[in-house]
């Protein structure tokens, strides 16, 4: 990994106004009337059924749009991989199972501008010659579901969705599906399994979904934000999209800022701006004049950055990759000097343990082990050798599973150990922690027990009670 990211070539600064989030603050932005009043569905009406689909794929490819779900795979390239001439239908599956902690961008599109997503889906369906789009929503998105469902009905009533869309003789069905609250269904093949009606178990790749995906048919899986981008790129052209961002990360992206900053929220910014500027100019800097301790740059699974790294970092795929982290889903969480990082990683591990689907051995067993170890250390029962063991368990989990959930759990732990090992060691050697931990635990278990009562297996917090060896 490069020590410092290659400096991005200076580009003329083009003023940027939010594109996707432009109207979300307006009243009734989720209705068809509002959407059409601002020129909605004009792009789809123009292109669906008329424009050469291959030229649309090429346009998106030229724009350099990269997947906004987390992996950042070039969207046009993905579309061009779609198997053709198989005699099977092609599907579009739109991933709205936004569950990465620290990420809350898609819900704003779903709740406040669902027609934008539907228009993007219609254009994408025509571009990849699919008659069926599935939009898979996280089960907890009640408002998002209601509004999207209503939006699909409105579009259907107008003849934009359904048989003979826009009267151009091309049928496009849009189906909204709700998940049941599993993080793993945000993984593309896990989502496909869930749509198929099975357990949300990710599938082995290859074959990739573009060759054999949903119901063993060629399938394109894209994030909600990616599809929302399609309308604007088709409308304005590839060069327009490339005005912003860097060579390898063109365009703009929605970032979710959370943590101890003055103005947490959802910000649509050009890619390539400095993280410093993002946190300070957009986020208003850290609250109460505290110092920054760490930043989680791309959703909880992205390796953590130290303030030194943040100073060097720009908000694009290659800069973060160069720093050993990732842009991911764009969920930026800022942690100030008061945050106990060991508690923080324990909470992180608790999440992954809870969400591992349990299919592959290393993830199923490893996530639980990491949580138990982190719990023990955070509660003052750490032992010599525990930190090496943590590192070893992470190493054994990474790259050994069907999907990347094991990596997603191991990466933050590894990065915390790498950058903040001192914090762990301090806890290992702090005799006063026992008492503190016990008080904390007593308060915490009471509430946590209530929350975990529906689970059959003993929760780690309950397990914790068995570890009272003092």
């Amino acid at each position: 990994m490069a020590d410092t990211p290659a400096p991005t070539e200076p580009k003329p600064i083009v003023p940027f106004k939010p594109v996707i989030l432009a109207h979300i603050h307006e009243d009734g932005s989720h209705t068809l009337d509002h959407y059409e009043a601002r020129g909605g569905y004009a792009v789809a009406r123009e292109h669906v059924g008329t424009t050469d689909p291959a030229s649309l794929v090429k346009l998106v490819d030229d724009s350099g749009l990269r997947g906004r779900g987390g992996a950042g795979f070039p969207t046009g390239k993905k579309w061009s991989f779609l198997a053709k001439g198989t005699g099977k239908p092609a599907y579009l599956a739109i991933n709205g199972d936004e569950s990465e902690p620290g990420t809350f961008k898609d819900r704003h599109i779903l709740e406040r501008d669902p027609h934008q997503l539907i228009e993007g889906a219609l254009i994408t369906c025509w571009a990849i010659q699919s008659h069926q789009a599935f939009i898979y929503l996280r089960g907890e998105f009640i408002l998002g579901y209601e509004r999207l469902d209503k939006a699909v009905r409105e579009a259907k009533a107008k003849g934009y969705v359904g048989a003979n869309a826009f009267g151009k003789g091309f049928d496009i069905t849009v189906t909204v599906i709700r998940g049941a609250g599993a993080y793993i269904c945000g993984e593309e093949t896990g989502m496909l399994s869930s749509i198929e009606g099975g357990r949300g178990y990710p599938k082995i790749k290859p074959p990739f979904p573009a060759i054999s995906g949903l119901f063993k048919c060629p399938t394109i899986v894209n994030n909600v934000e990616t599809i929302a981008n399609v309308t604007h790129i088709v409308k304005n052209g590839a060069a327009w999209h490339r005005q912003w961002g860097t060579e390898k990360s063109p365009g703009y992206k929605i970032f979710c800022l959370s943590g101890q900053v003055n103005k947490p929220g959802v910000y649509e910014v050009p890619l390539g701006i400095t993280m410093d500027s993002f946190i300070n100019d957009y986020g208003g800097g850290l609250r109460d004049g505290k110092k920054m301790k760490a930043v989680i740059p791309g959703g909880l699974s992205a390796p953590v950055l130290t303030p030194d790294m943040v100073a060097k970092c720009t908000m694009d795929y290659e800069s973060l990759a160069g720093l050993g982290s990732m842009l991911g889903s764009g969920g930026v969480t800022v942690l100030n000097e008061d945050v106990d990082l060991v508690d923080s990683i324990f909470n992180t591990m608790r999440f992954y343990h809870h969400e591992s689907c349990g299919q592959c051995t290393p993830c199923r067993e490893g996530t639980g082990w990491l949580e138990k170890l982190a719990h023990r250390i955070a509660h003052g029962h750490g032992r010599q050798g525990d930190l090496d063991l943590l590192g070893d368990v992470c190493k054994n989990m990474r790259g050994r599973t069907i999907c990347v959930l094991a990596d997603a759990a191991a990466m933050p732990m590894q990065s915390y150990l790498q950058h903040f090992r001192g914090e762990f060691e301090k806890k290992l050697h702090d005799p006063g922690l026992d008492e503190k931990a016990r008080t904390f635990r007593d308060e915490f278990t009471a509430t946590a027990k209530q929350a975990t009562r529906e689970h059959k297996a003993p929760s780690v917090l309950e397990v914790g009670l068995g570890m009272d060896r003092t």
């Binding site: 969400e355 051995t361 054994n396 570890m467």
Partner: protein, 489 residues
């Protein structure tokens, strides 16, 4: 034959079908790759992650079970990265495993034990509390020990793909995952016990074999199941006293793949129960030679005939044919009554409950059902009927009963002391042996001829039916030596 590719595994050049995966190419060529979730006759799940191998050019080990073959691929099944990966997986598999081998039925034939010995670490590093999962009874023959389960989903895939009854699935997530029945379901399909065989650990155990024996006290003999016309290849596990403890399928892709039905596995009680222990003349114990001589005398009665069952081996049929020709007895055949085939997506239990119907057709040129029907359709008294039975359960069909009722005497060759012996007009009874106690050759419904070796010593007095038939033939040829007068009715 489809396309083939040239690959290299551990330096060995192999040419294998392109549609195989690495693990199949290795196993077919005698190269062992450890595996839990992979099963040749089930779909690929790729979840246990123990089968990792090195592929030249790949940045990290890949799972052999799901890795497609490409021309010129070079695979290594050893090496530091591979061993490291396996060691890691073994450790993960065992951290929440109860390690209750001393009381686990699987111990001794457990893949966790084997691979732990081969690839595992010599000490544990897990000092936390283990996850405890549920214990359940899935069906009449299958019990589940959740904590031992490694969630390889072989059993789930079996009920999806082979039995097609879909009783099982995984519930909960992560390390709480366990196998459970769908609400209201019971794992009681006729193939249910296969899930016990394919469970690589002690999670699914057979209620019938549970706590019966430690497997290292058993020794095995290969055999063929006689309970229907499929002719499943079996392995008979016997204890030190030569008592059958269980019957499990042996893989034979042409016959039964890796499966067999529960009925076939559990049908061995007749070897021990209600046996005909001694030759009998008119219901009284007799000496074998006497009985044979008396039988030979009886067969001289006019209107005598021989009647052989489709449970007879080829050897028995050949002896019956020779004897009947020499003694001038018309030869007829009959079969255990058939029912409908039980068809599952991946297996069929034949409705024909005879192991050698097709062999009988070839050897004697007779269809047993037609043969018996034509015999039963005629009226008139018969002389002596030489009945070569050998069917467990000995419940005679109405047609057979009707034929026997018309006869003067019946000479019964059978191993069971049942209905037929008491109510079948039997004058002489000669004890034979069960399919497990004698070797024999059988042709299944597809005409595949299979030899079943004797799996055990006879548990009681008895001789192979073929030997008795030869002795009868000899006795008849040498003239009557019986001291018992044969009444000429």
């Amino acid at each position: 034959m489809g396309k083939e590719v040239n690959i290299k595994i551990d330096g060995r050049d192999l040419t294998v079908p392109a549609e195989w995966t690495v693990i199949k190419a290795a196993h077919e060529n005698g190269i062992e790759i450890p595996h839990y979730c992979y099963h040749e006759d089930l779909s690929i799940a790729g979840n246990c992650r123990i089968c990792m191998v090195g592929v030249k050019g790949a940045p990290r080990p890949v799972v052999a079970c799901a890795q497609p073959l490409t021309e010129g691929m070079e695979v290594t099944t050893t090496g530091e990265a591979v061993e490291e990966a396996r060691k890691g997986v073994m450790e993960f598999l065992l951290i929440n495993h109860p390690l209750d081998c001393p009381e686990c039925d699987q111990a001794g034939e457990c893949k966790l034990q084997d691979y732990s010995y081969d690839f595992g670490r010599d000490h544990g590093r897990f000092h936390e509390e283990k996850v405890v999962k549920s214990k359940a009874t899935f069906g009449p023959h299958v019990k589940y020990w959740g904590s031992r389960c490694i969630v390889c989903t072989r059993c789930v895939r079996f009920t999806n793909e082979v039995s097609g009854e879909n009783e099982l699935n995984v519930i909960y997530r992560g390390d709480r995952s366990e196998i459970a029945l769908f609400p209201g379901q019971v794992l009681d399909n006729p193939l249910s016990m296969n899930v016990v065989d394919i469970c690589p650990v002690g999670a699914l155990v057979s209620s019938d074999f549970l706590f019966q024996s430690r497997v290292w006290h058993l020794h095995s003999k290969d055999s063929v199941c006689g309970e229907c016309a499929v002719g499943c290849n079996t392995r008979i596990d016997l204890d030190a006293k030569e008592k059958i403890k269980r019957i499990v399928p042996r893989q034979n892709d042409a016959v039964n793949k890796s499966w067999m039905c529960d009925h076939g596995r559990l049908s061995f009680d007749y070897v021990y129960d209600k046996r005909l222990h001694k030759p009998k003349i008119d219901g009284k114990d007799a000496v074998y030679k006497e009985a044979v001589a008396h039988a030979a005398d009886l067969l001289r009665l006019p209107g005598s005939l021989a009647l052989v069952s489709a449970w007879s081996s080829q050897e028995t049929l050949a002896a019956a044919k020779t004897a009947s020709e020499a003694l001038g007895l018309p030869l007829h055949a009959y079969a255990k009554p058939s029912s409908q085939d039980q068809v599952f997506p991946g297996f069929t239990i034949a409705g024909d409950k005879n192991p050698n119907r097709s062999g009988l057709k070839t050897a004697l040129g007779l269809d047993p059902d037609e043969s018996l029907a034509s015999l039963a359709s005629k009226d008139g008294a018969l002389g002596t009927v030489l009945l070569v039975h050998g069917i467990p359960g000995s419940e005679a069909s109405p047609q057979l009963k009707q034929v026997l009722a018309r006869s003067e005497n019946v000479i019964l060759l059978d191993f069971g002391d049942g209905d037929l012996l008491r109510n079948g007009n039997v004058t002489v009874a000669l004890p034979t042996l069960t399919i497990y106690e004698q070797s024999g050759t059988y042709a299944n419904r597809d005409g595949i001829v299979q030899k079943a070796e004797a799996a055990m010593e006879p548990v009681t007095y008895g001789r192979p039916a073929a030997e008795i038939l030869r002795d009868l033939n000899k006795a008849a040829m040498q003239g009557a030596t019986s001291k018992i007068a044969v009444s000429q009715g």
